[in-house]
Symmetry: C2
Subunit: 319 residues, 2 copies
């Protein structure tokens, strides 16, 4: 009901809606309307109430409440079932538990702050309160573990596209899963899965985006939208856009396969044509990043002219 009330008020900003109008539009009593508005006020929403005119939504709190996001979301699956937390250890850890308990595909854990936010290879992901988007989405694709790296590219493409379409910044992707602005990291993706050797049970897609944080909040080499644009941005609008793009690209991937996602990825790549050094499990490879394979592997042309495929590991962009 909070979602419906917010939707109504947000559809006509700056307009007063009488209790009767709201009551009729939503099919509930005027007392119920009043109770829900009081509840929203308790959550930080500011309503003006003027006798004979009614209510007006003056200000929404800077929170990623599920009804705040759901009131704008057009997706069928992704983000339709949001588990909201003020503070959590790690959204990926929580989503993993929900997935084990049978949570439906598209379920998203969102937290305002993570105390043990995780990045790839057990690294830390800094998650200051109310400064970014920290979300983990449960996917249940009918695929083999071989196709899992494709999901990471789907996520990277979606985050880059969402940042471009919502706030117009030129986000690029560093293989396999970093999002860069001006060569500095602004978002990261952590894909975890539970699988049998030939079928995925579920994937947890963790996404962290630095939005309104300052350099002092972040590790070296990272940036935020605030630092790049020198203005604060709406976290929930970007979260909505990320979910929308994710659903769009996930649908493309499951229906048409890897190739259209790879094309998008190539267009958005900060990696291709660059000299790179890849640190893999057992060795280091240096050369020019020249392509991406059908399985998501990075193709590197060595100085001796040979090509190597890198499936996993860390990448440094050299020049």
């Amino acid at each position: 009901m909070e979602t419906k009330i917010l939707k109504l008020f947000k559809k006509s900003p700056d307009v007063y809606l009488s209790g009767e109008q709201v009551s009729e539009a939503l099919g509930v009593s005027r007392t119920a309307v009043w109770k829900h508005i009081e509840k929203l006020r308790g959550l930080g929403y500011e309503f003006d109430a003027v006798p004979h005119l009614g209510y007006r939504l003056r200000k929404s709190p800077d929170k990623l409440y599920s009804f705040e996001i759901e009131s704008f979301l057009n997706t069928k699956r992704i983000g339709r079932n949001i588990k909201y937390f003020d503070t959590i250890d790690s959204t990926n850890t929580a989503a993993y538990k929900f997935a084990k308990e049978g949570a439906i595909e598209g379920t998203a854990v969102i937290a305002e702050k993570q105390t043990k936010g995780r990045g790839r290879l057990s690294r830390e992901w800094t998650s200051p309160k109310h400064k970014g988007i920290y979300t983990s989405i449960i996917l249940r694709p009918n695929m083999t573990p071989y196709q899992a790296p494709g999901i990471t590219l789907v996520a990277a493409v979606s985050v880059a596209e969402a940042l471009r379409s919502s706030i117009g910044i030129e986000a690029r992707i560093k293989w396999p899963n970093d999002i860069l602005i001006n060569n500095k990291k602004i978002a990261g993706i952590l894909t975890e899965m539970e699988a049998e050797s030939d079928s995925i049970k579920f994937i947890i897609l963790g996404i962290g985006i630095n939005l309104n944080s300052k350099f002092t909040d972040l590790p070296k080499g990272s940036t935020s939208v605030f630092e790049e644009l020198q203005r604060k941005v709406s976290r929930f609008e970007i979260a909505v856009e990320v979910f929308q793009k994710l659903e769009e690209n996930y649908n493309i991937f499951t229906k048409e396969g890897f190739s259209p996602i790879r094309d998008k990825w190539l267009d958005l790549s900060a990696t291709l044509g660059r000299r790179v050094r890849a640190t893999c499990i057992n060795r280091k490879i240096e050369g020019e990043a020249v392509g991406i394979d059908t399985d998501g592997a990075l193709k590197i042309r060595l100085d001796n002219g040979f090509h190597e495929k890198v499936m996993a590991g860390d990448l440094v962009l050299l020049r």
Copy 2:
């Protein structure tokens, strides 16, 4: 200490050992020896005690106690840390929990009976009490999920080799993970893993082997060593042999890669040269099984002469 006492008595079967001999050999008091022998008696071990002669181990119970297995095991990792259960829901589920809690590589869960034994693709694995080996081993290989199917082949090769070397039956492997005798299933393998998109966190290798069960205990199409040989076999000797072979082949795989494992697999295969029908995620493929790829995929030659690779799915041997 129970392991050491058993080792001592099993080294010289039918021989009486005096309390003093045992006490000296193990460096504990005679009272302690007596207490441990009483403890072993409580677990079903039968000792003869004759004044002036000492103790003789007459009979061991038909149990897969950890000290029973450890007293014969020569491995460095696999099976060095055994978690023994009389009855459990699923050894894979239990091993998964132990792995999450940080259990070391090689840790093995063994149960006399599973109430919810699981096979591939959420199928049931029938696990009657004291009739088979039901074990799940935790591995922590430094690999990508792409290499996980190789681990399933390592397990299949090890189980087939162990059945051959311990009781001399001609076990063969049906791709990817069934062990057959006379074209009937005698053992199965369930590989589950937790991974990031480019690195395995841990693998649970579940192994179920039908040993002393009867046809009436088993699903249709399955068999047991008892039904094939018309005699009961020692479960713990076979369990020991499985762990030994597993360590041997796992070491080969991690050091030399997939190729030597593939060679062994090809030698043991019940699949190659056979006409097969593979039911994959989205389609059915029929043709002749002609090989196995470097990534563990089955290569099938279709009737039109083209080749297809099957990464995952169910296989029916047609003729």
